[in-house]
Symmetry: C2
Subunit: 223 residues, 2 copies
DNA sequence: GTCATCATGTAAGCCGTTACATGATTGC
DNA sequence: GCAATCATGTAACGGCTTACATGATGAC
C-alpha cells in the first residue's frame, strides 16, 4: 500500500521524503494519507531492499521537479522562490530515485490480483492505472466491480433495524451502488479506448502521449 | 470501535460471541466487520474490565433473542428450528450481558468528541444514535459535517494529475459531497424532530416509542 | 536569539488481521 | 465415522499512528 504510493510518486522523478508526503496529501489526500512515522521507515526499507536509491545531493533534480506547486499564498510562494534560488542546505534532504528492481516491484504491487482490495487500495491502484496495460486495467476494474456487487448482495435489507442504523446501512449501500456505476463508466471508457486503438491504427496520439516521460503500460500485462 | 459495536449489540439483549459476529456482519456489514481473532479477546477484555458479564447458561435469553433471523433457506431454517427445540449443548457458548459500568462505558464511547472520526467510526456511532440525546445527535452530525467540509476544502483541484488519478480524486470528492448532502438531510430531520417535540407537547409518540425496551437518550447529553 | 518551517528519524503502542488449535453437535 | 457447522480461544504478525528526539535554516 505505502510502497505502492511511494514508488508510484518516485516514478515521476526523484523526491525526498518530506516532499513525497506533501504530494501524497495534496494530490491523493482523498485516497492516501500517511505520517512521517510510517513514511521514513518505509523509505529505509525500500532502500535496503534495493527498490530505491538515494541520490548524492543532485539537487537540480528536485528544483526541476517542482515548478508549479499550485496553491500557495503569495507570501509563501515568494518564500519558496527565494529558497529555490538560494537553494542548498536545508539539512541533509535525502533524495530518492526508483531503481529497476523498484520498477519491477511497483509493477508487481500494481497488478497483484492480491487479497485486500478495499476502497483505499483500489483507489491508489487506479490512480496509477496509466502504468498498466489496457487489459490489466480492465481486469482491475472488473475485479473491483465484482467485489462491490458481492458486498451489495450480502446486505440483508434490514427491516428490523431501528431508523438510525437503517439510514447508515442505506447510505452505505447507496455509496457502493454509486461506486459500481462509476466503475461501469470507467469500464466502458476503457473498452471504447481499446477498440479505438485496434480500429484506427496509430492515429490519435492524444491518449498515449499524455506525458513526456514514462511510456504507458510499462508495468506489463498479467491476466 | 470494537467495544462500541459489541456493547451496542449487547444492549439489545444478551448474546454469545459467535452470534455477535454474525449480527455485525449481517446487519452492519457495511460499517462494521470483525474477525473472531479480535472479537473474543475484546469480549475477554470487556469482561475483565467489568463492562460485560457472562450469564450462567440462561439460554432462554438467547432463544427469545433470535425469533426472526431473517434470510435463511428453508433447509437451514428447519435445521435451526430443530436446534432451538432440542436447545442445549452446542459446546460452552458463553452468553454475555452488559453491566451498568458497561452502559456507562458505551455512553462515553458513543458521544466522545474524540479524535479519529473516520467514516467507519461515524457510521457505527450513528447506527447507535438512538441511544444519544437529541442535542448530542445534532452535535455528532455537525462535527462530522465540519470534518468532511474541511476534507473537501483541502482537495487541490489537481489539474496537473493524469486522467486516472484525476478520476479517482474526482470520484472521492463526489463521495464526500454526497456524504455531506446526506448529513444535511439528517441534520434537518433532527432539527425538525426536536422542534416537533417542543411545540406539540407529548403528542405524536411514533418517534419516541420506536422499540419496546431501551428508553431513548439513555446515554446522557454532553455538549 | 528565538520561532516557524523544513527535514529525518526512532519507539511505543493500537487495532486489527490471518493462521492455528480445540472441541461439541448434527447430518449423512 | 466423517464432514460441516457452531463455538471459543491463542499466537504471531502487519501496518499505521502518535509522541518524541534531533537538527538545519531563514525570518523577524
Amino acid at each position: 500500500m505505502l510502497d505502492l504510493a511511494i514508488l508510484g510518486l518516485l516514478k515521476e522523478g526523484p523526491l525526498h521524503g518530506y516532499e513525497i508526503r506533501r504530494r501524497l496529501r495534496a494530490q491523493l489526500g482523498m485516497v492516501a494519507n500517511v505520517s512521517f512515522g510510517s513514511l521514513y521507515p518505509a523509505l529505509a526499507r525500500l532502500e535496503a531492499a534495493g527498490d530505491v536509491e538515494a541520490l548524492a545531493s543532485e539537487d537540480d533534480e528536485l528544483t526541476t521537479a517542482l515548478p508549479s506547486t499550485g496553491s500557495l499564498s503569495g507570501e509563501r510562494a515568494a518564500q519558496r522562490a527565494k529558497r529555490l534560488v538560494g537553494a542548498r542546505g536545508r539539512r541533509s534532504r535525502k533524495v530518492y530515485r526508483v531503481t529497476d528492481a523498484g520498477t519491477a516491484h511497483f509493477a508487481t504491487l500494481l497488478n497483484a490480483s492480491s487479497g485486500t482490495d478495499d476502497s483505499r487500495s483500489f483507489g491508489l491502484r487506479w490512480s496509477f492505472a496509466r502504468h498498466l496495460a489496457p487489459s490489466s486495467r480492465l481486469a482491475l476494474l472488473e475485479r473491483r466491480r465484482a467485489q462491490l456487487v458481492q458486498r451489495l448482495g450480502e446486505t440483508t435489507d434490514s427491516e428490523l433495524l431501528d431508523p438510525y442504523a437503517r439510514s447508515v446501512v442505506k447510505h452505505a449501500a447507496d455509496g457502493v451502488a454509486s461506486d459500481i456505476a462509476w466503475l461501469d463508466d470507467l469500464i466502458e471508457a476503457e473498452r471504447t479506448s481499446m477498440s479505438d486503438m485496434s480500429t484506427s491504427d496509430r492515429i490519435a496520439p492524444s491518449a498515449s502521449a499524455a506525458r513526456g516521460a514514462n511510456s504507458p503500460a510499462d508495468a506489463g500485462a498479467n491476466n
